[in-house]
Symmetry: C2
């Protein structure tokens, strides 16, 4: 087949310039393949994730690095990092400590399913932890 991937030899890097310094990062459970969450990384978060093997994101609301699990203890141990064709998104295969990625206590942030062509929805996830007990604010 013809070759159209324009990779230079060696390392490729995400293109942080495209989206105000940020790339999208999808976390997927390495064991079950459940999609856990979508978050953002700036270059510092990406490099720290690669260096430490723990998922580090950039919180757009708090405007600072977000070392996943720093408050809840539920770290994400990174097994694999994949980068997409246009280099503005990465896919992490993670081992989610504590079993829940979502701050609402569900394994996945995608715990609501749209029904009736979007006219309704149902909660399909089961709570792994009680957010009020984990985030003692």
């Amino acid at each position: 087949m013809s070759e159209t991937i324009n990779d230079k030899p060696g390392a490729i890097r995400p293109d942080f310039a495209k989206q105000d310094g940020l790339i999208a990062a999808i976390a997927q459970c390495v064991h079950t393949r459940e999609v856990l969450m979508l978050a953002w990384m700036n270059e510092e978060a990406y490099d720290e994730t690669l260096a430490t093997g723990r998922a580090v994101y950039y919180s757009r609301s708090r405007k600072k690095l977000w070392r996943k699990g720093e408050e809840s203890g539920n770290q994400q141990v990174v097994h694999d990092i994949r980068i997409d064709c246009d280099r503005d998104a990465v896919l992490l295969w993670v081992d989610q400590k504590g079993g829940a990625a979502c701050h609402e206590g569900f394994s996945s942030c995608f715990f609501r399913k749209m029904t009736e062509k979007g006219a309704s929805h149902e909660v399909i996830g089961e709570r792994v932890f009680d957010p009020k007990a984990v985030y003692k604010k």
Copy 2:
């Protein structure tokens, strides 16, 4: 457990106001759970996806609706739509017609795996089709 999900009864909608009218949309294969791609939806794309059962995105580069497969024929038949906790991302479970979501001809856009802590990478995907044959430009 305590209830902290602030859903009103009935339908919830994505929050399009948060990101310049766009939400992130992850497409995942309904059969294999492979994460296929990350794209964007504006409200019109979201509503058309719900109404038609085919994935419709918004192309930020072309600044218009992108009915996935309109050029390649490789539509995505949508089985499930899930919405995340803060309502700025959706997860689609799709049946990817033609077997490849990526315009480069791979099943997934995430066909490159970072190695050596990001100092190198390898192509892990296998090409399903030849992009030059499908996109006749």
